[in-house]
């Protein structure tokens, strides 16, 4: 059963960007909590400040008002507790897969024999055994995305932030990688916050979905996703009848107008 320990807490977070033409309010009064082991998604129209929100949680940006607590501590900068997954895998083509995976540890000056072993173990567990000495260009898109996740996991963060992490993949690969990444996150028992514009993706993977309004982004509504499956996977979730109901509700909330 879910322990209701707050891992991430946002308190009235607001963000304004300054420019010569004036102030651009990106986020306004965002508050929510994420419990341990939860998978939470944030969906919203493009330009609503979704990615800004993740940058704030990761500590890369400082909010202009409000605060973020990670495990009870106020976020002031990038933290080892938080791992970030970007839209593209951004594997460095001059590094082997193993060297790519060790990037975060190198930066944190934490490359140890144990860490290397753990990296090797992760590669093996997630179907990349024997690929350590290959270069990124020799891997398929799905494999690269898994390598990117392992690169984040090796630093052992408790919270994963996924910033449109699958949008660079083609549709089929995307569905497959959704399942892969979901399984890995659950197996490693990580808390995850995902930002996406893909409603189906958010429902299929999440325990909860927050819908943001147009800029300045505020929380419009919150949807607890309950899919009655014994062993839930994103792909199977998509086939459930409740999935469609959630989809319709969130679609209406998003209020998408094609101009």
């Amino acid at each position: 059963m879910r322990t209701l320990k707050n891992v991430v807490e946002l308190k009235a977070v607001g963000m304004k960007y300054q420019s010569l033409n004036g102030e651009i309010p990106a986020l306004d009064n965002i508050s929510f909590k994420v419990h341990e082991g939860e998978f939470v998604s944030i969906v919203g129209p493009s330009g609503c400040g979704k990615s800004t929100l993740l940058s704030i949680v990761s500590g890369l940006l400082t909010p202009t008002s409000g605060s973020v607590l990670v495990k009870g501590e106020k976020v002031t900068g990038p933290s080892k507790k938080v791992g970030y997954m970007l839209q593209k895998d951004h594997l460095f083509d001059w590094r082997t897969i193993t060297q790519n995976i060790l990037l975060g540890l190198e930066i944190q000056k934490a490359v140890t024999a144990e860490a290397k072993e753990y990296a090797e173990h992760l590669l093996e567990t997630y179907g990349l055994k024997g690929f350590g000495h290959k270069y990124p260009s020799q891997l398929s898109g799905g494999m690269r995305q898994r390598v990117a996740l392992i690169r984040t996991l090796v630093t052992n963060p408790e919270i994963l932030l996924l910033d449109e992490a699958f949008s660079a993949l083609d549709y089929q690969t995307r569905l497959a990688v959704n399942d892969d990444i979901y399984e890995i996150i659950k197996k490693e028992n990580k808390t995850a916050i995902m930002v996406t514009h893909d409603i189906a993706e958010s429902i299929s993977m999440s325990d909860r979905v927050y819908v943001l309004t147009r800029r300045p982004g505020t929380i419009k509504s919150c949807h607890d996703i309950e899919i009655r499956l014994d062993k839930r996977t994103p792909f199977n979730s998509r086939k459930m009848p409740e999935f469609q109901a959630y989809f319709d509700r969130i679609w209406k909330e998003l209020d998408v107008h094609v101009k």
Partner: protein, 281 residues
Amino acid sequence: MSSDRFDSATVSQKPEISSEHQEFLRKVRWHKIMVRFTQIFILVLAFGLWELFAHLRIVDPFITSQPSRVFETMVALHQQGVLLKHIAVTCLETVVGFVLGTVLGTFLAIVLWWSEFISKVSEPYLVILNSLPKIALGSIFIVWIGAGPGAIIVMTLAISLIVTILEVLNGFLAIDKEKIKLVETFGGTKLQVMTKVVLPASLPTIMNALKINVGLSWVGVIVGEFLVSKAGLGYLIVYGGQVFKLDLVMTSVLILGVAAAVMYQGVILLEKLLLKRRLNN
């Protein structure tokens, strides 16, 4: 974990070479041979005609020189024991100027990348220095540094440095911001952003700058030698021109051509070595 989806990427069987493929390979090989043959043929033809026309007095060898006289001049210079000295002086000046230009240029590009303030402040100065014909500075260098290899190397630097800075800085700025963000999400410092992403990602740009620099360094050295030197291939060219010994001028120019080509090939080799992994993929 369903990794079998990706198995097609892992299987790399060598298929039997079909006759069509053999035919294709044969054609490619033949094409390469023809290109190389024609290249050599043009060279031999040019030198042959040059020798022939000079021999038949269709052109005046006193003005045009001729291959056999070039060869004799080379042997004579060698017997006087000065040929290698002149080559060595020029090559050394070029290599020093080239290495200094590249290292200093890359370093200054790093400084400009690091501090947007310095970058903004220096922008108009860089623009002016870049468009200024550097040869105009020759007299200043001679007066300041003295007539000698020092002034020549500074001349070389003057010609290649600004281009290197601009080229490398552009490479730095073209790097995907998300790659930099990735390093920052791991808590990376600016120095780590530099060493983990910006420099390695810019290696191809830096190699390109090197290639441009090789040519510019030769220009700088020869211009420098024209102005001040007492030795070197540039000195021989100027001296030969002044005393109307075209044999000496032609000999020096030909040696210069070979030396420049060798150095350029050296850079290509270095590039291949450094970027081997990336080019292979």
